[in-house]
C-alpha cells in the first residue's frame, strides 16, 4: 500500500488543476469540469484517509464519498442546465460574454 503522502500529493495537484480551470478557462463547461475535479480531489482525500486508521477500510469515509458523488452530480446537472439557458440566450459558451453584470 502506498503511503498517505502520495495520495495527498495527488489531492493537492488535482485541486490546483481544478482551481486553475475554474479561474482561467473561458468555456462555461470547462469551469464546471474544474469544479468536478476539485470535488473528486476531496473524494480521493476521503478514500485515502479512510484506509488509515484500522487495519481494514473505514466504512464512514466510503459512504460519505458515495453520497458526495451524488451531490456533485446534482450540482453539475443544475450548472449544465444554466449553461444551456445561457447558450440559448447568448449563442456562445464563452463566459466573458456574460459581462453585463459587473463580474
Amino acid at each position: 500500500m502506498l503511503a498517505i503522502h502520495v495520495y495527498l500529493t495527488a489531492v493537492l495537484f488535482l485541486s490546483l488543476i481544478g482551481l486553475y480551470s475554474m479561474a482561467f478557462k473561458r468555456n462555461m463547461i470547462r469551469i464546471l469540469l474544474g469544479l468536478e475535479i476539485i470535488l473528486n480531489a476531496a473524494n480521493l482525500s476521503f478514500i485515502a484517509f479512510s484506509a488509515r486508521f484500522t487495519g481494514q477500510v473505514d466504512l464512514l469515509g466510503q459512504s460519505i464519498v458515495v453520497m458526495s458523488i451524488v451531490l456533485g452530480g446534482c450540482v453539475v446537472a443544475i450548472g449544465l442546465s444554466m449553461v444551456l439557458n445561457a447558450y440559448k440566450h447568448y449563442k456562445t459558451l464563452d463566459v466573458r460574454e456574460l459581462r453585463r453584470l459587473k463580474w
Binding site: 489531492v11 485541486s15 475554474m22 462555461m28 469551469i31 464546471l32 469544479l35 476539485i38 470535488l39 480531489a41 476531496a42 482525500s45 476521503f46 485515502a48 484517509f49 479512510s50 488509515r52 486508521f53 473505514d58 466504512l59 464512514l60 469515509g61 459512504s63 460519505i64 453520497m67 458526495s68 451531490l71 446534482c74 450540482v75 443544475i78 450548472g79 444554466m82 449553461v83 439557458n85 445561457a86 440566450h89 447568448y90 463566459v95 456574460l98 453585463r100 453584470l101 459587473k102 463580474w103
Partner: protein
C-alpha cells in the same frame, strides 16, 4: 449511554420536506385542472406546522438533561448520521421558519405572473428544509447533505426567471462560486476526518491529536473558513452576492440576504467554537490566531460593504452590499469569542433577518409597481405608496441602528462585546461604530428621495396589494416591538449562545458517554 434512536426526523424538518413533496404534486395537479390557489395555501400550512414543530422542539430540548437532544438515524454515532439539537439549533431553525412564513405569504401576489409556481414553492420549502437541517445537524455528513440541499435549491431559485439575462448570469456566477465553497468545505472536512477518524462534531472536538496536527489543523481551518466565507459573503469572497441577490425574485432575495448567508455564518461559528477554539491552546499561537483572523476579516467586510453600498444606484444592489456590511458586524461578536459576543451575533442574525427581509420585500413591492430598480426613478414614490415607504423607512433605520429599533439593541451588544475585559479589541468597536454611522449616509438618502415631492402627478401608481402589505406591516411592527421590548428574543439568543460555549461539555458528553 443516553441515546435516542429515532424513526423520525426532527419535526420542523419532517414538515418542510413533506411540504415540498405535497406542494409539488398539488401544484402540478392544479396546472392540469386549471388555476387554483391550493399550492400557496398548502405551503403556508406546512410552514405554520414547521413553526409549531419548532416550539415542540424547543420544549423537548429544554426538558432534556444538559439541554441537548440527540436523534440518530440508522446507527448510533459516530457511524450513524445524527441530529444533535441544542438551543442554538432551535434558535436558527426558528429564524429560518419565521422569515420563510413572511416570504411565502408575500410571494402570493409577487409571483402570480410567473409560470412554474409549483416548482417555486416546492424549492422554497426545500431551501428552508436545507437550512433547518444545517442548523440541526450533529455531524459533518448530515451537515453537508443539507448544506447542498440548501445550495442547490437556492441556485435554481436565483436563476428562476430563466428568460431574462440578469438571472442567467447571476445564477451561473452564484453557482460556480457557491459550489466551489461547498467543495472547499468538503475538502476541509476530509482533513478533519483524517485527523479525528470520524466526522461527528463531538468526536472531532475531543478526538484530534492537536499536538501533532499543527499545520494540518490550520490548513483545515483555512479551507473551512474559505468555504463558509464564500457562503457568508465575507470580503473578499463576496463577489457573487451583489449580483445574485438583486437578480433573484424579491422574496428569494429576502430569504437569501435574511437567512441563507447567516447559515454560512452559523456553520463557521459551529465549527470554530466546537472544534477549533476549545483546543486552540494546544496549537502554537492558537487562540489569538483564530480571533485575529476573524477580527481582520470583520473589519474588511463591514468597511468594503459600506463603501460599495454608497456607490450603488440600484436599490436591491445597495441592500445586497448592506448585507455584506451587516455580516461584518456579526463577525465582531464571533471575534470576541465570548458568550456576550455570540449573544450579539445571533440576536443580530434574527434581527437582521427581519430588517433585511422587510427591506427587500418593501423594495420588491416598489419594483412590482414601477418596474425598475433605479433609485433615481423612485423619487416621490412615498406619495403613492405610503405604507410601503413607511415599512422601508423603518427597516432602513433599523439597519442603520437607530435606537428604538431592534437593530440598535443587537449592534449595541455586538460593539460592546469587543470592549469586554479579556477581549480588549477596542479598535474593532471603534471601526464598527464609525461604519455604522457611515452606513446612514446611504440609508437616509433613500428615505429622503422617497418622500420628496414627485415631479409630475401620476395616477396609475397605487399602493402595493394587500397580501404584500400584511407581511410587511407585521415585520415593521415587530422591528419596533423588539426594539422597545427586546427581552423575549434576547433571552432566547442568550440561552442559544450559552449552549454553544458553556454547554459544550454537555454537547460532547451526550454523544461520547
Amino acid at each position: 449511554m443516553v441515546m435516542v434512536l429515532s424513526e423520525f426526523l426532527p419535526y420542523p424538518l419532517i414538515s418542510l420536506l413533506a411540504g415540498a413533496m405535497v406542494v409539488l404534486f398539488a401544484g402540478v395537479l392544479e396546472e392540469r385542472l386549471g388555476q387554483g390557489r391550493t399550492k400557496e395555501a398548502l405551503s403556508v400550512i406546512f410552514i405554520a406546522l414547521a413553526l409549531i414543530g419548532c416550539l415542540i422542539l424547543y420544549k423537548d430540548v429544554t426538558s432534556q438533561p444538559l439541554g441537548v437532544m440527540v436523534l440518530s438515524i440508522g446507527a448510533e454515532p459516530p457511524l450513524g448520521a445524527c441530529f444533535e439539537i441544542d438551543l442554538l439549533s432551535v434558535f436558527m431553525t426558528f429564524s429560518v421558519v419565521f422569515l420563510g412564513l413572511f416570504a411565502v405569504v408575500y410571494s402570493f401576489r409577487y409571483m402570480e405572473h410567473d409560470t412554474r409556481l409549483a416548482e417555486y414553492y416546492s424549492l422554497l420549502l426545500l431551501m428552508m428544509a436545507g437550512m433547518v437541517g444545517v442548523a440541526l445537524a450533529g455531524d459533518f455528513f448530515t451537515f453537508f447533505i443539507f448544506w447542498e440541499l440548501m445550495c442547490i435549491s437556492s441556485y435554481v431559485l436565483v436563476a428562476f426567471r430563466r428568460e431574462l439575462w440578469g438571472p442567467i448570469e447571476a445564477g451561473f456566477k452564484y453557482l460556480t462560486m457557491s459550489a466551489l465553497g461547498g467543495v472547499l468545505i468538503f475538502l476541509g472536512m476530509s482533513l478533519l476526518y483524517g485527523m479525528a477518524g470520524n466526522v461527528n462534531f463531538a468526536y472531532m472536538s475531543v478526538g484530534i491529536d492537536w499536538g501533532t496536527a499543527g499545520v494540518w489543523a490550520y490548513l483545515a481551518f483555512i479551507l473551512l473558513f474559505l468555504g463558509f466565507g464564500i457562503k457568508a459573503a465575507i470580503v473578499p469572497m463576496h463577489t457573487w452576492l451583489p449580483d445574485a441577490h438583486p437578480e433573484a425574485p424579491s422574496p428569494i432575495s429576502a430569504m437569501l440576504s435574511g437567512i441563507v448567508i447567516e447559515t454560512g455564518l452559523y456553520g463557521l461559528v459551529r465549527i470554530l467554537f466546537v472544534v477549533f477554539l476549545p483546543n486552540a491552546v494546544l496549537l502554537p499561537r492558537g487562540p489569538e490566531t483564530f480571533k485575529y483572523v476573524v477580527a481582520v476579516f470583520s473589519v474588511l467586510t463591514m468597511t468594503i460593504g459600506n463603501i460599495m453600498a454608497l456607490l450603488q444606484k440600484d436599490i436591491k444592489r445597495l441592500l445586497a452590499y448592506s448585507s455584506i456590511a451587516q455580516v461584518g458586524y456579526m463577525l465582531v461578536g464571533v471575534a470576541s469569542g465570548t458568550t456576550y459576543g455570540l449573544l450579539g451575533c445571533f440576536l443580530h442574525v434574527f434581527n437582521h433577518s427581519l430588517m433585511k427581509g422587510l427591506a427587500f420585500l418593501a423594495s420588491g413591492a416598489m419594483v412590482y409597481r414601477i418596474g425598475t430598480r433605479n433609485l433615481d426613478e423612485m423619487k416621490g414614490l412615498g406619495h403613492y405608496m405610503p405604507v410601503t415607504t413607511m415599512a422601508l423607512a423603518i427597516s432602513l433605520l433599523g439597519l442603520g441602528g437607530v435606537p428604538s429599533t431592534n437593530g440598535f439593541v443587537s449592534k449595541f451588544i455586538l460593539f460592546g462585546s469587543a470592549l469586554a475585559p479579556g477581549v480588549n479589541m477596542w479598535w474593532l468597536t471603534l471601526i464598527g461604530v464609525l461604519n455604522s454611522a457611515f452606513s446612514m449616509a446611504y440609508y437616509l438618502p433613500i428615505i429622503i428621495r422617497l418622500i420628496t415631492k414627485p415631479a409630475e402627478k401620476s395616477s396609475e401608481l397605487k399602493e402595493a396589494p394587500i397580501l404584500m402589505l400584511i407581511p410587511m406591516c407585521i415585520m415593521a411592527i415587530l422591528i419596533i416591538v423588539f426594539g422597545i421590548y427586546p427581552r423575549p428574543v434576547l433571552q432566547l439568543a442568550d440561552s442559544a449562545s450559552k449552549a454553544l460555549i458553556e454547554g459544550l461539555q454537555g454537547y460532547i458528553s451526550k454523544v461520547i458517554p
